[in-house]
Symmetry: C2
Subunit: 112 residues, 2 copies
């Protein structure tokens, strides 16, 4: 599929060779962005950030979704590394992983 540069018209595109910035972080960024790519997960993240400490099943009360659905979102967030869950007796306390959050911010801010 790759071939000649065509005439190029010089109208708007200027195809001087550009070296892509390290693609290695594309996956990381996509993964973290994916974690907050759903309104419910954004709310959960904000909720957890709001309380510096972690929260438990109250998330279910705050988010207007079924408990199982919230649990799934929490799982996705956990898999992204953005949040961490710690078992505390019968309940589980979640809290933000500040490092991952920082990394997300850094990667997004680095889009330039």
């Amino acid at each position: 599929m790759a071939k000649k540069k065509t005439s190029q018209k010089e109208k708007c595109c200027d195809p001087s060779d550009v070296t892509l910035p390290g693609d290695d972080t594309a996956e990381d960024l996509a993964k973290l962005a994916w974690a907050v790519a759903h309104p419910a997960r954004v709310r959960i993240v904000r909720l957890l950030i709001g309380r510096k400490a972690c929260v438990c099943g109250e998330i279910v009360d705050e988010i207007t979704l079924a408990q199982s659905t919230v649990s799934q979102h929490l799982k996705i967030l956990k898999e992204s590394g953005l949040i961490q869950g710690e078992v505390d007796g019968p309940r589980v306390c979640y809290c933000i992983n500040r490092d991952k959050l920082k990394m997300l911010k850094k990667l997004i801010a680095g889009l330039k």
Copy 2:
């Protein structure tokens, strides 16, 4: 689904009423995050940022995906508002919407 606060054990969670930060932007953030929630789209965005100008079918050459697939990703990015496409003769030049990018950065940076 909302009911009593239970005993609460005071172990790790501290359920002082917390007012959620404006939920209104949750959708916006989710939508923009979604746009960059795929490695290919991250690469495209970075590519477009790299060249301050816009690019055309070269994106297809840079991204190792079929032309139709790239076109779909471009459509998603366009729908998110992160990029804009401008017809230039037979080809289409894409460029970053700096405002939207700024908004994404702002929303992500605002996670605190």
